[in-house]
Amino acid sequence: MKMDLIQPFINAADAVLAEILQCNTRIGDMTMEEETYRRKGVAAVVVVHGDIEGRVIFDIDSVTATKIASILAGQPVEQTDQIVYETICELANLVIGNAVTSLNDQGFRFKIHPPTVHKDDLGLQGNEDTEALVLYIETPSGNVFLNIAMRYNRRRRGEEIAATV
């Protein structure tokens, strides 16, 4: 597990949630997971490909998503699938954008694919290279779960090292 690759995502999620919800947040228990991912609510998956590769899953239940949507919209919104999907994707975009900024300024180059909503109960299993870190961020609106699996792209790093020799 490469904490230096994962930490920017945790920091970004914590900071973004605190900022948009204007509240104190708390990072909940962290666990390593090698089992198949089982979603807790509605999940958005963002895939990273380049010098580092992996994926981040954002997972929130519909009630929490609707509460966050109401804050984002500045007015109460009705709980619909569309609102829930848009909320989780917007959160994912904000967090990933901020994490990418930090990693890019450290010299990593990679492509981020737009978030896709993950509707299956199971999927995206980790392995010894990409075992996932699972954590949640507590907010007054509810918990936001993150499942992060990230690793260095060996081929890319190998090419870079070869090019500098």
Binding site: E19, L72, G74, E86, T87, E90, G97, N98, V100, P114
Partner: protein, 151 residues
Amino acid sequence: MEQFPALVRSKDRQPVRYLVVDDSVFARKNLTKMIDSFGGQVAGEAGDGCTAITEYDRTHPDIVLMDITMPQMEGIEAAERIVRQHPDARVVMVSSVGYQENIVAALQKGARHFVQKPVKPEVLYEVIKYVLGDEGLALASATAVAGDSGQ
């Protein structure tokens, strides 16, 4: 949301008109709320770069708030095309992806400034004041132009 001293156009003291470009409905709503709190007026909205160009031609806003990552045409390319057609256009990039290369690319293509998401109203306010320069004026009262906001 906090009210700010109304920002108006110094030439006619009318509200500053904005074009808000973002593929996220939430982001557009959020920016619209901030614009209201600055005493401004949303002249148009767009959810992608192509629509932003046509909306600019239609509305001729004083300020464009432009996201970067969008479908069809990204914000930096849209900003470049708008500025090529309208060299006086004031485009402020608003994106969560704020790494150096992105910012430099946007500025080289004609954007005037960059604000990172999540947007803090006080930061955006100061950036808009800076970008407007002598053509903007901050009135003492936040409600001074409220009656003109339908213009």
